[in-house]
């Protein structure tokens, strides 16, 4: 049987097994064990799977994942995020649409502290959404902004998506972080511009935030900044350590986790129960991610060995289109996969195949990593499998999933605009790393 049929068989069985609800980690393990045994027999096949799986546990960079997950959990549970949001809202005053704009800004700040998406959406959903709805903001606008801005957690550094991409594509995670910062802010600016245009055209969508504090003169409102001071220090420390050359990403994540505890201690919100629950939640999250990675990595090793990588490289290389269009095709594939697959699954299916082609075509793998992470932003929102929408649904009883999906559509369009801007103007991503490099 030729490699092309085996590829189709592998993809088809992956999709079928995933569709009937078998956990993704089990699915990839099953397919890789099956392929390995068919190809190499039991003894060699078993060895191939076990060698690759065990190697995952040696990946130093993966250790940053539990640290960032824990940090996000502490920030959420200790109420630090809540305080931050309140101070920002008051600071914004009575400008039309200000609460929606501030929600976006707070989301960006939270994104710079946390590397995972779930916690941030839950937090914004619990804190910002009720406020916006209470103030009479348009439902769809409010829902859309929370899902879209909340997803920025994995585009603005630090980001678990970029860490895992860096591992899979063998590129510098620090450079990926630097390169994704500006595109992350670009998306946030697009969201803000969209909000401002919509509320100008239709003022009913965004009444003024009318509480006594927002009526104070700007200078008096500055004192409410104090809720933002400690989180700002924490962000500066973590990012400063990464870029200032003090620590590796993993070590900075550990310092961030300790820092989150210190900040909640200073604000007198540190308790044994809070810490314990945050850590248990971390164990569950990380425990579910690791089995996914184990299965995916062993599948990649086997697929490479049977010549799959070469086959797909040749296939993409033989496309008779301009190199940039090859990248566009890749992005479209990721987008389609993003409607129904988990991001880690998408990453492990596509990146090992795409990354060498990207290099062959002469493009920067760092830039491609940023494009990939931006595409994952679309994945978070796009139905039917849109995790950001699921997270929001999980905290709000009176909103139907269909309404959320309808609300995020304009934001998906904005994300696509951002993606294509970076695709055709790579400097947006590569400018900052080149500055830091000198």
């Amino acid at each position: 049987m030729g490699i092309e049929y085996i590829t189709i068989l592998i993809v088809a069985s992956l999709l079928a097994l995933m569709a009937i609800g078998i956990p993704l980690g089990v699915t990839t393990l099953l397919v890789s064990l099956g392929t390995a045994i068919l190809y190499f027999g039991e003894r060699a096949g078993f060895f191939l799977v076990s060698a690759n799986v065990t190697e995952v546990l040696h990946k130093y960079e993966l250790i940053a994942v539990p640290f960032f997950v824990f940090m996000a959990n502490v920030l959420e549970r200790s109420g630090i995020a809540h305080t931050l949001f309140e101070s920002m809202a008051i600071l914004g005053g009575r400008f039309r649409g200000s609460v929606a704009v501030q929600t976006t800004i707070v989301a960006v700040i939270l994104a710079a502290m946390s590397g995972i998406m779930g916690g941030e959406i839950v937090m914004l959903g619990l804190i910002a959404l009720p406020q916006m709805l209470r103030l009479g903001y348009d439902r769809k606008l409010s829902i859309g902004i929370i899902c879209a801005a909340g997803a920025l957690a994995t585009l603005i550094p630090p980001s678990v998506v970029l860490i895992v991409y860096g591992l899979a594509a063998q590129v510098s995670i620090t450079k990926l972080f630097a390169a994704s910062a500006v595109p992350g802010l670009l998306l946030a600016l697009l969201f803000i511009a969209y909000i401002l245009v919509r509320v100008r055209l239709n003022p009913v969508m965004a009444p003024i935030y009318d509480i006594p504090e927002t009526g104070l003169p700007f200078f008096n409102r500055l004192k409410f900044l104090k809720g933002a001071v400690l989180p700002a220090v924490l962000i500066t420390v973590v990012l400063g350590m990464i870029y200032g050359g003090i620590a590796t990403v993993t070590e900075a994540a550990a310092i961030g986790a300790v820092g989150a505890l210190v900040v909640s201690g200073i604000q007198q919100r540190l308790s044994w129960t809070m810490m314990r629950n945050a850590m248990r939640q971390t164990v569950l999250t990380v425990g579910s991610i690791i089995w996914l990675v184990l299965g995916a990595v062993s599948l990649i090793g086997i697929y490479n060995r049977i010549g799959g990588g070469d086959f797909l490289r040749d296939l993409l290389g033989s496309l008779d289109i301009a190199p940039i269009m090859v990248i566009v095709v890749m992005m479209l594939i990721v987008m389609v996969l993003g409607t129904f697959l988990e991001w880690i699954a998408i990453l492990f299916i596509t990146v090992p195949i795409f990354a060498p082609v990207v290099a062959d075509l002469g493009y920067d793998p760092i830039w491609f990593g940023v494009l990939f992470a931006m595409n994952i932003q679309i994945y978070y929102l796009s139905p039917p499998f849109g995790p950001a929408c699921f997270f929001l649904k999980s905290v709000t009883k009176d909103i139907e999933l269909q309404e959320i999906f309808a609300a995020v559509l304009p934001f998906i369009a904005l994300q696509a605009v951002g993606l294509f801007l970076v695709l055709f103007f790579p400097q947006i991503a590569l400018w900052l790393p080149s500055m830091l490099g000198n």
Binding site: L17, M18, A19, I20, G21, I22, P23, L24, G25, V26, L29, L30, L33, F46, F47, V49, S50, A51, V53, T54, L57, H58, Y60, L62, I63, P66, F67, F70, I116, G118, M241, A247, T250, E251, A253, A254, I255, A257, V258, M279, R280, T282, V283, L284, V286, G287, S288, I289, I290, W291, F340, L341, E342, I344, P384, F385, P387, F390, F391, S394
Partner: protein, 173 residues
């Protein structure tokens, strides 16, 4: 028999949760040692040779051994789109299929990691660095223990399916 089985399921659940909670202590230790390394390097200009290997061993231990806890809470990431389409009664049978597929796969996986895990007992493998720790051997054994824990908890979940005492799955992370 049925009483014995439900006792097994309850005992396994307790064991998985206990180990899972213990894993959070391991993560605390990981955070501590990683942060300590930075302090040692800048505070005392004395980087440790053991911090990375120790942290990696602790973290690996935590995320492999937490598998029972994750399985008990039904937190393994899966796609449940079809649940809405086929309805709860058909999905109930899908659940059985999912559990059995997982039991078969993870059992075969346990067989795959069996030989490498046993091999280190008569031919231990060290890291070969200046610390020369036993970490590589440890990881090979751990992954086998993880696979066995996974299967044992899946069996408990299977019993719960048969006896109609399944726990609601909680999604998201």
């Amino acid at each position: 028999m049925s009483k014995f089985l439900s006792r097994y399921a309850a005992a396994m659940d307790r064991a998985s949760v206990f180990i899972g909670h213990a894993c959070s202590a391991l993560f605390f230790a990981c955070i501590f040692f990683s942060a300590l390394e930075v302090v040692m390097r800048y505070g005392f200009d004395h980087p440790t040779s053991w911090s990375i290997e120790l942290t990696m061993a602790l973290c690996a231990m935590a995320w492999v051994l937490s598998v029972g806890y994750v399985t008990e809470r039904n937190r393994h990431i899966s796609i449940t789109m079809l649940e809405l389409m086929v309805g709860p009664r058909v999905w109930h049978w899908f659940r059985l299929m999912q559990i059995i597929a997982a039991i078969v796969t993870v059992s075969v996986f346990a067989m795959a990691v069996w030989d490498p895990a046993l091999r280190v007992f008569w031919r231990p493998e060290y890291s070969g660095t200046s610390l020369n720790s036993i970490q590589p051997s440890l990881l090979k054994v751990l992954i086998l223990i993880g696979a066995i824990l996974y299967v044992l908890q899946l069996l408990a979940n299977l019993i719960r399916w048969v006896q109609g005492t399944e726990k609601a799955s909680t999604h998201g992370h």
